[in-house]
Symmetry: C2
């Protein structure tokens, strides 16, 4: 069952995140604010992908853990900034007050900045060969930046409410906003393991397909999901005029697209075997099947 | 004359910054917003320090240029975020509308995030030995983060208007808020040059002293400077209840402290000679003597 194994890896990441901020080295409120969002729960999918791809290709999970956790810091900072009043203006995140609701707007901006910077500190201090660190961290910076995640958020804001979106634009936007970081979680794991280029490419294909499946599944869940399980109001995307796959292509075609991506992700694993390959294959399917 | 040489180095940085963002790879508005603040002028002190320290210790200026320019991206992002309504709420920056006044608050937050991330992309793609890049970029992440620049900004917000500040607290705050990045500009240059530990320590001492002198001089300029030359209203720090050196210890003692720091910076250069050493020595003095 991928859910149990996901939970196993997730706990390793969780306990690293628990102690990766040093309270003695920063102002108390900043520490509280960064920690609040970093430990607010979540599936920790990005660090888990990085760990498992590294392991699949011969890397050492413990050595990769600090780098993988950096990916979660980046994901968390993006949520903190996206929730700000000037952006999505969300009061709730995973059923709790969003960071700026709890600590004020200034502190939320700075906590986000702090988490983004901390990510690179963690990544660059992993005990791995410098050549691999430079390449992997460089890939992460590209994926998280203006031509990746941040560019995707800008495009999302511009598409929202424009009413002129097609599936291609939506896919390009998600490819940047959520796909790039999920993909680089896989490729950086491969790079850190010292994998050959062909295997790094497999990780890229898997991560790209998984990222799209993930987003399609999120959109579907927003239509059919259960409010309590999600921690945010069902239909909140529709309410904010968000463009979604079900809205553009209907629920059935959205499910088909998601399933197609699952198949593509699983194909990238062909020829690989063992528990990591099985887990990654099951995870791709689980992304589409999950109910929360 | 340090001012002419500073101008020479500054132009090299400027022309690199001109072409370091790729318009084809990101949404047009995000590109405009990032570029607007990155090319809004400024003395480019941080990249220049990095370049000159690298050169002084045998490094290649051209190879270090992308890394050095990353430091300017970090400095620029911090200005964009500090100007936001939730923070210092500044409408002007260097005589022009601040980023959020020009592009709106959401874009200013994202442009800042983009510049911070781009900094690491630039730094990690410099054509230098990986071991040096990892160490130097790791130092920069530490100096820019929650125990450095960001922590200093939080402390600054907390000190402002608290009315209970002493010189030690002010010095500690500035050491984080502005000192850490100026210092790491010097130390990263030394690391990238492949310098021995003793010389990296010299760079740290110089940068630490220069950082304090810089802040003291800024505070003094805010009291005695010329509005047009500064591009912001004179006395604006006092108006916002900012705690300054002149306010705490008077103008004369502030000048003495600044001059003491200049001497400490120059002492760190003892035994070094040549145009770079001369420039760094003159620069330390120039920081206190400048009128804008």
């Amino acid at each position: 069952m991928p859910k149990q194994r996901l939970e196993l890896y997730r706990r390793e990441v969780e306990s690293f995140l628990e102690q990766c901020l040093d309270a003695r080295r920063m102002p108390a409120t900043l520490y509280e604010s960064m920690r609040y969002s970093l430990l607010a729960g979540g599936k920790r999918v990005r660090p888990v992908l990085c760990l498992v791809w590294a392991e699949l290709l011969g890397g050492d999970r413990q050595a990769v853990l600090p780098f993988a956790s950096g990916l979660e810091c980046i994901h968390t900072y993006s949520l903190v900034h996206d929730d700000l009043p000037a952006m999505d203006d969300d009061d709730l995140r995973r059923g709790k007050p969003s960071n700026h609701k709890q600590f004020g707007e200034a502190m939320a901006i700075l906590a986000g900045d702090g988490l983004l910077t901390h990510a690179f500190e963690l990544m660059l201090h992993a005990d791995l060969p410098a050549e691999r660190l430079v390449r992997a961290a460089g890939l992460v910076a590209g994926a998280a930046g203006a031509s990746g995640m941040i560019g995707g958020q800008v495009t999302d804001i511009q598409l929202t409410g424009s009413g002129a979106t097609n599936v291609e634009d939506l896919r390009a936007m998600h490819g940047m906003k959520t796909g790039a970081l999920l993909q680089v979680a896989c490729t950086s794991g491969a790079v850190l393991a010292g994998a050959i280029e062909e295997d790094i490419q497999r990780a890229a294909t898997y991560g790209g397909a998984l990222g799209l499946a993930f987003q399609v599944a999120d959109d579907i869940l927003d239509v059919v999901g259960d409010e309590a399980a999600l921690g945010k109001p069902v239909g909140s995307d529709q309410g904010a005029d968000k463009v979604t796959y079900p809205a553009l292509m209907g629920l059935d075609k959205s499910k088909s697209l998601g399933q197609e991506m699952v198949a593509q992700a699983q194909e990238a694993l062909q020829g690989k075997s063992g528990p990591q390959a099985d887990f990654l294959s099951d995870l791709a399917q689980y992304v589409m099947d999950r109910t929360e």
